[in-house]
């Protein structure tokens, strides 16, 4: 406990945590739009395409200067987005081929530049490799200002164009019909994806950046139906994953931050997919089970009701075999027990036979009539 307290009160760790939280929040916020616009894989392409920019920024600045490195990453990311757009518009290649070509070629050039810089030597160039998998511990106090500036710019953009972004994300055709400059807004949103990537580079690196973009947004989407809620929750999940990943990475020697952040964010996604109220897989399974039970109960009641009517005897004892024949198979014992508990049917003996028999109660007949009424009601239109 004291070790944890020591860890938290150290200045370096505070810097790293603050940086990681801001970077995660920025990526989470902007990732929400990328996910809604189905641009997740564009995010992956832009992230990989940031590598040559990182190297160029280093080459131009001659040292690990965060400002120029991030600017370089942003520039090549934007160039990659333009290249994808050019290929999709001017050739018959499909979008995924365009994304793949741009991703792999930009990354190839990045690898060439990286090895060139490493061959040139210099202790600082070793720090470049941290941009591959992220190293939150490499965040310096002076970097916080740059990160905060990027965050404020992104936030200002999102707030200023909230209405437009909302419309373009959900219904671009309607937005165009309303006279909004959709192409411009889409370009702006793509630029923001590049922004998010630039922000997340230090935390998770170029290769895993796509997960920091997608995972918080995909998790947030499960819990809310409003865009504002999704963006806010996504930022929160991004920030939390960033901080948790940075802390674990700082306390265990030699673990890159990126993979940790990504695995944490992914577990949040898995939990959300399973548990999100109303939408999650667990809830879906419960609902499916309830629906199956309702249909099974309805069939039992309808069968007993039919038998009673056919024999003009409200208390007609139906034998197990009769139910089996009518339903195809006997419903599970738990369903029968539940019907008995609800007072809709009642087990009776019918000597001299020894097999189980059931008769319907008053409530059971009412329920069966109500169910039949429902069924009849739904076909009322067809009657004259």
């Amino acid at each position: 406990m004291t070790a944890l307290f020591d860890l938290l009160s150290s200045g370096i760790v505070q810097t790293v945590m603050l940086g990681a939280a801001m970077l995660g929040a920025i990526s989470g916020m902007l990732g929400a739009f990328a996910v809604l616009r189905r641009q997740s894989l564009l995010g992956d392409t832009l992230a990989h395409a940031a590598l040559p920019g990182v190297c160029l920024g280093f080459l131009v600045a001659g040292a690990r200067d965060l400002g120029s490195i991030l600017f370089g990453a942003f520039a090549t990311g934007a160039l990659a987005a333009l290249a994808v757009m050019l290929i999709v518009r001017r050739t018959t290649l499909k979008t995924d081929a365009a994304l793949g070509v741009v991703l792999s070629v930009f990354f190839g050039v990045g690898v060439v530049l990286l090895t060139y810089l490493q061959a040139q030597g210099g202790a600082a160039s070793a720090g470049l490799a941290t941009f591959l998998f992220g190293q939150a511990a490499a965040i310096l106090p002076s970097d916080l200002w740059i990160i905060g500036g990027i965050g404020l710019a992104a936030l200002a953009l999102v707030l200023a164009f909230w209405k437009e972004f909302e419309l373009v994300s959900f219904d671009p055709d309607f937005a165009r019909a309303q006279g909004l400059p959709v192409t411009l807004l889409e370009a702006l949103l793509t630029i923001m994806v590049a922004f998010a990537i630039v922000a997340g580079l230090q935390l998770v690196g170029v290769v895993l950046m796509v997960a920091l973009l997608i995972a918080p947004a995909a998790a947030a989407r499960q819990w809310t139906r409003s865009l504002a809620g999704m963006v806010a929750l996504s930022s929160l999940i991004g920030a939390a994953s960033g901080v948790a990943g940075a802390l674990i990475s700082a306390s265990a020697r030699g673990l890159a931050t990126g993979p940790l952040v990504v695995l944490i964010a992914t577990s949040v996604v898995v939990l959300s997919l399973l548990l999100a109220p109303g939408r999650g897989l667990v809830w879906q399974a419960i609902r499916a089970r309830q629906a199956r039970a309702r249909i099974s109960d309805g069939r039992v009641l309808a069968t007993l009701h039919g038998l009673a009517e056919a024999h003009r005897d409200a208390g007609y004892p139906a034998e197990k075999g009769m139910l089996e024949t009518a339903l195809g198979a006997m419903p599970p014992a738990a369903r029968i027990a539940s019907l008995e508990r609800r007072g809709l049917i009642r087990p009776v003996s019918h000597p001299p036979e020894t097999t189980p028999h059931w008769e319907m109660t008053e409530a059971g007949h009412a329920e069966a009539a109500a169910l039949a009424g429902e069924a009849a009601g739904s076909t009322r239109d067809e009657r004259p």
């Binding site: 050739t91 793949g100 070509v101 690898v111 997608i214 695995l263």
Partner: protein, 378 residues
Amino acid sequence: MILAFFDSIPAMILLTGILVGVSAALLGSFLVLRGNAMLTDAISHSIVFGIVAVWLLTRHTAGPVQVLGAAMTGVFTVVLSELLARSRLVKMDAAIGLVFPALFAAGVLLISLYARNIHLHVETVLLGEIGFVWLHTVTLGGVRVPVAVLTLAVVLAVNLAFVLILWKELKLATFDPGLAAALGFVPGVLHYAVLTLTSVTAVAAFDAVGAILFIAFVIVPPATAYLLTRRLWLMVLLAVVLSIAACVAGYLLAVRWNVSIAGMMASMTGVGFVLALLFAPGRGLLAQALRYRTERLDHDCRTLVAHLFTHENTPAMAEENTRQALVDHLRWPEARARAAILRAHDRGLIARQAGLLVLRPKGTAEAQAIFGRDGGRR
């Protein structure tokens, strides 16, 4: 002779690159045509997890069982992404983007935790180490052959056999999956066969080019070939030739500048793509720009002829049938007006007479064709 070839390090590096390139291009053509190129991205990232897991279990990375086991992760990624998308909780693109980074991250962490200091170094995952393929060799019939070359040769043979034997079926399933299914060719199974082979190739190529540069070998040469031809057999052949060219050029430049060989080979596939994008006959950006220019000039010529025809022999002729009228009344920039007049002159449509532009018989005929039989004259 053979011995000298297999002892030569540059020859082995080049051979490895070419084996990767050709194996990848054979499968990549069908992936690019089907619109599944980005599945390669998912596969090549996630096999990292498979390779590490297999290494932890068996302490070997080479061998048929290891390669197949690691390749299963690639197929698993695709299946899991499709299942996730089918639950309709997330869209397909987000599903892909969720599954493979998670597996890749797990793989990288496992390397950092358990496999440090062996040849599975974290950076190798990204960059490959094609320069060191000659370090691990086996003796085959008295010749020392690098393990990577042997594995990749087997993979290439399998891929080549697959594509040649199932050529007709692949072609049908790629271009018309509906018809293929109706005829009983099970396009789904073929699709997964292609993906499985892609995974196997990715695992075999992993040592040489790393997880990410592999994508370049799968997607870029076929995409380049696709810009150049509309025939499937020619596209596959061109893709193979392009990747061999990229390997050779990449190797030479990498040695010259002392940079990553695999990275340079991937960059060279990109150079090929850019060249094709710009200069592809008929479809390249240059051809598109030229066609646009020609069409606009032809259209301007027709407008010019129509303009002259409308005002011919009218009181306004002296004012209208001049270059200045094109600039003032049609609002064409000087240069555009000049170009149109020159073009029309060259084609024998108009002539200059006493400072006026007049129609020659050919120009009158063209104007009459535009306006209809009676020339639309008042």
